[in-house]
Symmetry: C2
Subunit: 511 residues, 2 copies
């Protein structure tokens, strides 16, 4: 049996494995501040890549970036009842603007510096951005308004988990206003598709895009859509959402415009976001028992060169050889961008560095020793296929020129291979043969290997009918994830009610 | 007399002019949240350009980006007495994590959700990053640690002014730890030089780099350096700072490492930052009575194409002509990057658009009408020289091919021209002939045109001696800006004390 680089395997304890990847790959750590993490350079580097690639797509679809205040006055929230109901329980509230000595060597909020109106640290920005929209929009000529913001937000979660659910997290939130409901719906679906294709193309993350059921809507939304990814433990991760808000927020915030006929109308608005949570998804989809495997498009460094330094006179020549290699690689273009190659000269043993980069998941690791240099070679480790069939580490010496000539293609191959592997796992783990509720119970019974998700037909109940379905599923720790946009048409009875089904839904456990 | 595009001139009311540029160029606006602004797309686009260019330089000098929590527990601040003393008066404090109904239809912080330890919204992150450094650093092999963070910070300012002083602002803060004081001092000066060259090369902002006097040091620092820019009203703007923190924070946060000899030592740390304040500097250095002039390197769009549409059948052909022009420009490279060209198809009159882009300060505006198209021409407006000698708008029709062939060079010329203009103004407005305090009084007397700054010699008093100098200057609304790194050696008496001078300092009014 091969000894893997992590202290725990996915099989043994998926949750402990997840934490160990985060820690061993230097992605993030607990900060000492409740529920907040420190995102370390490798983790933040992945986020920067996600930002760059997604931002390009957000701009290419006509949106402009802005920045709105971190603080939102309480009164802004009070205007949209459902919205505040959804967030009031988890809001961080600023009440004072000065500290004074507590007389015991410590500090305390200054009672004479109490704010007249408390400020909420934004959990999301519909209310403050909507207030700006009301100022900006007078006429149909001002529409559409297409805005995005990259920001931190705070939701005071009781149980936190790094990347997946933290009190503070980083995200982008798009906010748009349109003249008609049809245009706003089109925008909602357009951004859902931007998220879907971004997840597939850049993160190598297969996802199912679809509408969330009524009970899972964003507070204040008319319709919420999501992309759902399947983790290696079979659970779902909601990796991005897009909301059609109708005129709900426009009504609350008085976003009105004069139409071409001179009449005053309410605008229709949308909002959509993805967050650092996506990194949690990348870990749980692409990680293995040796750590993370980062898809090349979002890898801060795609090729890492580790010279086998020995504190001898030969080192200088070896470093020069590696620098020339790095320079050659930097001239290449792969996956639409210049190749990112790092020469790792930190003072540590080569083997420590190798396993450090394996755990971090750099797509290609090049080890270069004296013998490699003498032969004009490099020893190549591909992170997506780390071991040979006999269980030994697959490190092959190849001619440096041949490696460089094929490096771009190899990165593209790795990106594709990770995607295919994850896509096959997703497809293999959606059970489509469940036709009654007993089948759902059987699939998710204690001791049964998690089937992933089941796709079942339902009659799309609402109100108390839906509540009942939600309750029955909750008893099994299940939720309806979404109604896949590309699912086949319904053609039988609802698994919950026996009534004729109208659509197919995915049911599973979720993060 | 030419009628300018802004409602007020610099000459008539510099402060009102500044606000009008911000508003007329759609850079930012009041948010309705006390002291916080909304940064609109053109303003945020400039910030994104600043981020991209400065981030490249920060990374090229070996720093990696991270992200640390927004919230800092009170106890972290209590450890460094000077530091907390400097910030306690302006800290936003989170005391609750939930809202409940106030029984009157509104909301109020839930008394049962009061935090045990209040959290401060970060005014700067030395304390929380230092705590992480203490975890990360054990051995000399772990050093140096070179970290940067792009983030929002909050300082509860009583008087706010857009970009220059807002309760929340955006910045980058670098934090590093080193084995020796010498290395940390070297880092402090290296980053000061990164800021200086960035301001000059990218923002076309001439600055004076130098050490701040003792009384202007960052709370807790051993030495603080700044770059100071001169606004068109003669006032100074501190546009970036770099701090050598010695072992002060390492002591407070227990950042220790084992040196090569096995002994435990305190690390030496630094911090350095620039913020959205820089945009205020760009406005007050490059703006004119028609609005902003954005240096091409930080212009979100460098060339804006305005087709003179007339709602006729000819429009389609005109748009095609402009699209081809835009595509040709996008193939060019200027100032080290692809040219950023926008085709403005918004539904507004061409003249309105022209003046909109003049006020925003797009470096080159191309107007294209039917006659231009017929002749294969474009009408070129250069924002840095808007008027001819006779006072008329300088808009010249030139062959499209000739324009495209010269566009990259024209952008580089504009970047250079703005820099030279500002550099000459700076040089012309530093008085170096003041040899006694009466000279300072005369220079800044009521009714006298502000000389800009005076460079005087001083004996570098400390303690009560310095306090006295600060008081005398304060009566004239003056401060010592910094000790220019490249100033000539002292060779006469101190203007304040009459003692032999040891260095030259810049004195001026400041934002």
């Amino acid at each position: 049996m091969i000894k893997r680089a992590l202290p725990v395997t996915r099989e043994a304890d998926f949750s402990a494995w997840y934490q160990s990847v985060i820690s061993e790959a230097d992605l993030a750590e607990e900060s000492g501040v409740r529920g907040c993490m420190v995102i370390r350079p490798w983790g933040y580097g992945i986020w920067e890549r996600i930002q760059r690639l997604l931002d390009d797509r957000i701009k290419a679809t006509g949106h402009e970036n802005c920045y709105f205040p971190l603080f939102i006055p309480l009164s802004y929230f009070e205007k949209e009842a459902e919205h505040v109901e959804g967030f009031a329980k988890e809001m961080a509230v600023v009440t004072h603007h000065r500290l004074i000595s507590d007389g015991k060597g410590g500090l305390t909020p200054d009672p004479s510096a109490k704010l007249e109106e408390p400020l909420v640290v934004r959990p999301t920005s519909e209310t403050v951005i909507g207030t700006a929209f009301a100022r900006w929009i007078q006429s149909w000529r001002d529409l559409p308004v297409l805005i995005n913001q990259w920001a931190n937000v705070v939701r005071w979660e009781m149980r936190t988990r790094m990347f997946l659910r933290t009190s503070e997290f980083l995200w982008q939130e798009g906010h748009t206003a349109h003249a008609t409901a049809a245009e706003a719906r089109e925008e909602t679906l357009k951004m859902l598709e931007v998220y879907r294709s971004f997840a597939e193309d850049c993160l190598a993350l297969p996802v199912v895009a679809g509408e969330k059921p009524e009970n899972e809507r964003f507070p204040g939304a008319v319709a919420t859509y999501s992309i759902e990814a399947m983790m290696q433990d079979g659970k779902a991760l909601q990796a991005g959402t897009s909301h059609f808000l109708g005129t709900n927020f426009a009504q609350a915030q008085n976003i009105r415009f004069q139409n071409a006929a001179g009449e005053l109308e309410l605008a229709n608005t949308t909002s959509w976001g993805v967050s650092t949570r996506m990194i949690g998804g990348v870990i749980m989809v692409h990680g293995d028992d040796d750590g993370l495997r980062v898809p090349p498009r979002i890898a801060p460094w795609q090729v890492v060169i580790v010279p086998m330094l020995r504190d001898t006179d030969e080192d200088a020549a070896l470093i020069d050889y590696c620098k020339a290699l790095q320079a050659d690689l930097a001239k290449l273009s792969a996956l639409g961008e210049p190749v990112r190659a790092l020469l790792d000269l930190k003072p540590a043993k080569a083997a420590t560095k190798r396993w450090g980069w394996v755990k971090k998941g750099a797509p290609i690791i090049l080890e270069v020793g004296g013998r490699d240099m003498a032969g004009g070679n490099v020893s190549v480790i591909r992170r997506d296929r780390l071991y040979r069939e006999d269980g030994k580490l697959d490190s092959a010496a190849v001619a440096q020129e041949a490696f460089t000539a094929g490096a771009a293609a190899m990165l593209e191959e790795i990106q594709g291979a990770l995607h295919v592997e994850a896509r096959q796992r997703l497809e293999a783990n959606i059970a489509r043969d469940v036709t009654d509720f007993t089948g759902i119970e059987r699939a998710f019974a204690e001791g049964v290997k998690n089937p992933g998700w089941v796709e079942v037909q339902w009659s799309k109940p609402t109100g108390p009918g839906l509540d009942k379905v939600v309750e029955r599923l909750k008893a099994l720790k299940l939720t309806v994830r979404n109604v896949p946009s590309d699912a086949a048409a319904a053609d039988g009875p609802c698994v919950f009610t026996g009534d004729p089904a109208v659509e197919r839904v995915l049911v599973g456990r979720a993060y």
